[in-house]
Amino acid sequence: MPVPELTYPTWKSRRSSKRRPGLVRGVSIAAVILIWEMVGRASDSLSIPTFTRTASAWVELMASGRLPMALLISGISLISGLLIAILLGCTVGLALGWFRKLEQAFDVYISILLVLPMMAVAPVVIAVLGLNLASRIVIVFLFAVVIIMVNVTTGVQTVSNDLILMARSFGASNPQLFRKVLLPGASPAIVAGIRLGIGRAFVGMIAGEMLVTAVGLGYLLLEYAGLFKPHYTFATLITVIGLAAVVMALMKRVEKRLITWTQINVVD
């Protein structure tokens, strides 16, 4: 006798086949822009520029070369700091994952580093290194490195014990175990950690520029806010958000492309 299929109200089944998320999404984006424009026109104040005014300010900033220049300057500190953070974060993370005792010894510091607002450490960096590019790179590095390290460590630690036992019983040496089992096993967490690290690096980049030197995107944001030219601040802000969102979306795509076999828990 066939088992009757159980029907119950799942929210999934309610999602009809003809749903068009793209359409709703587009309408929602258009609505936000429209409301923004209307609020900007209605408020008639200095503080909220209209969408059109912001768009023209963006074109102006691009044409005058201020925004491209800021992007370049910010990009240099972002990429250098991030690369150092990835390199060091992965190395230390792998070491902490491999040596239990080491991780136990340092887990206090890791929990501290995870909650410590790096922004508060920035004045120390500035005082030691001065108001220059080196400071900004170190600040980007500090913002990004912890999250990368933690995710790599957890990635190594959560590699299935069965896999390790199996490799051992087939006579894998330590280097083999590391290269062939732990590294591939931890790779989803490594990639996820790098993605989160990129997000933090953006924050570090802005933080460094706001606190350290009068350059880059962070400075543009503050300067125009100070000059009460909100349309320029909005235009710069949208550039920063857009850039971060695009890079993060690309990383997410890379992550999905590379890692198809497992679901991971990201430490954040």
Partner: protein, 265 residues
């Protein structure tokens, strides 16, 4: 009776004692090593901004006893609490609505993704333009830092709940309301609590970042003050205070997590 009660207790204490060195040995070694290293670094006088441990501890006691630190902590925590609780409330509500109604998810997921990846720090100048240098800006910064991760975790927890749980509840005749409150919300609780824990950390960061750029009151303002005057001992005392506050709050949420969702791990 007394003996009956005592024996397991004594056993527990003894076993904890036995494990003490293996559990805390490496940690204590690392802690002692770090303090020593820091003290040496401080005594080498590399920079005025890197103090000795003893100097920083003295500065901290000085700040506490002179009553400079207390009011700033209270002010900071006030903004923190307002922004954070608003983020928890709105975040859970919105996350649940997005999980429940497809239309809301489709309309908002673009914005939520944007908020998750955008550096919130960049919004501070904008918030200053919109709300001025007052309380609203501080609360808004804290809110913005904490909000997104709470929404995403609530949404994920409810939407991707184990279907077997729903099936079981329905076969026992649960109504739609019961299904939501007793199955979906409760089943999502571990993820929601994890989101709140991440939110607490972010809210503290938002609070400090906001205060550092607004620089009138609060712990962040003190960081800027002592940073700008190259007062390393006091700066480190403040940084340590912020860290302790952050650790206390994340531990409280962890404790709440264990109490509310004891089945999770």
């Amino acid at each position: 009776m007394n003996g009956d009660l005592a024996s397991p207790l004594v056993g527990a204490v003894r076993s904890r004692k036995r494990g003490f060195l293996t559990v805390f040995g490496p940690r204590l070694a690392a802690l002692g090593g770090a303090v020593l290293l820091w003290e040496i670094l401080g005594r080498l006088k590399i920079s005025v901004i890197i103090p000795t441990v003893s100097g920083a501890v003295k500065a901290w006691f000085d700040l506490i006893l002179s009553g400079k630190l207390g009011p700033h902590i209270v002010v900071s925590l006030g903004y923190f609490a307002a922004g954070f609780f608003l983020a928890v409330f709105v975040g859970i509500l919105l996350g649940a609505l997005m999980a429940r109604y497809q239309l809301i998810e489709d309309a908002l997921d673009f914005w939520i993704n944007l908020g998750m990846s955008a550096p919130m720090l960049a919004f501070i100048p904008l918030l200053i333009i919109l709300f001025g240098l007052g309380d609203a800006t501080r609360v808004a910064v804290t809110f913005l830092f904490a909000f997104w991760v709470i929404v995403v975790n609530t949404f994920t927890g409810i939407r991707y709940l184990d279907p077997a749980l729903v099936e079981m509840a329905v076969s026992f005749g649960a109504s739609e309301g019961q299904l939501f409150w007793k199955i979906r919300l409760l089943g999502a609780l571990p993820l929601i609590m994890a989101g709140i824990r991440m939110g607490v950390g972010r809210a503290i960061k938002g609070m400090v970042n906001g205060e550092m750029l607004i620089t009138v009151v609060g712990l962040g303002a003190m960081v800027m003050h002592y940073g700008n005057t190259f007062n390393g001992e006091y700066l480190f005392a403040i940084i340590a205070t912020i860290t302790v506050v952050a650790l206390v709050f994340t531990s409280l949420i962890r404790f709440g997590h264990r109490r509310l969702a004891p089945w999770d791990k």
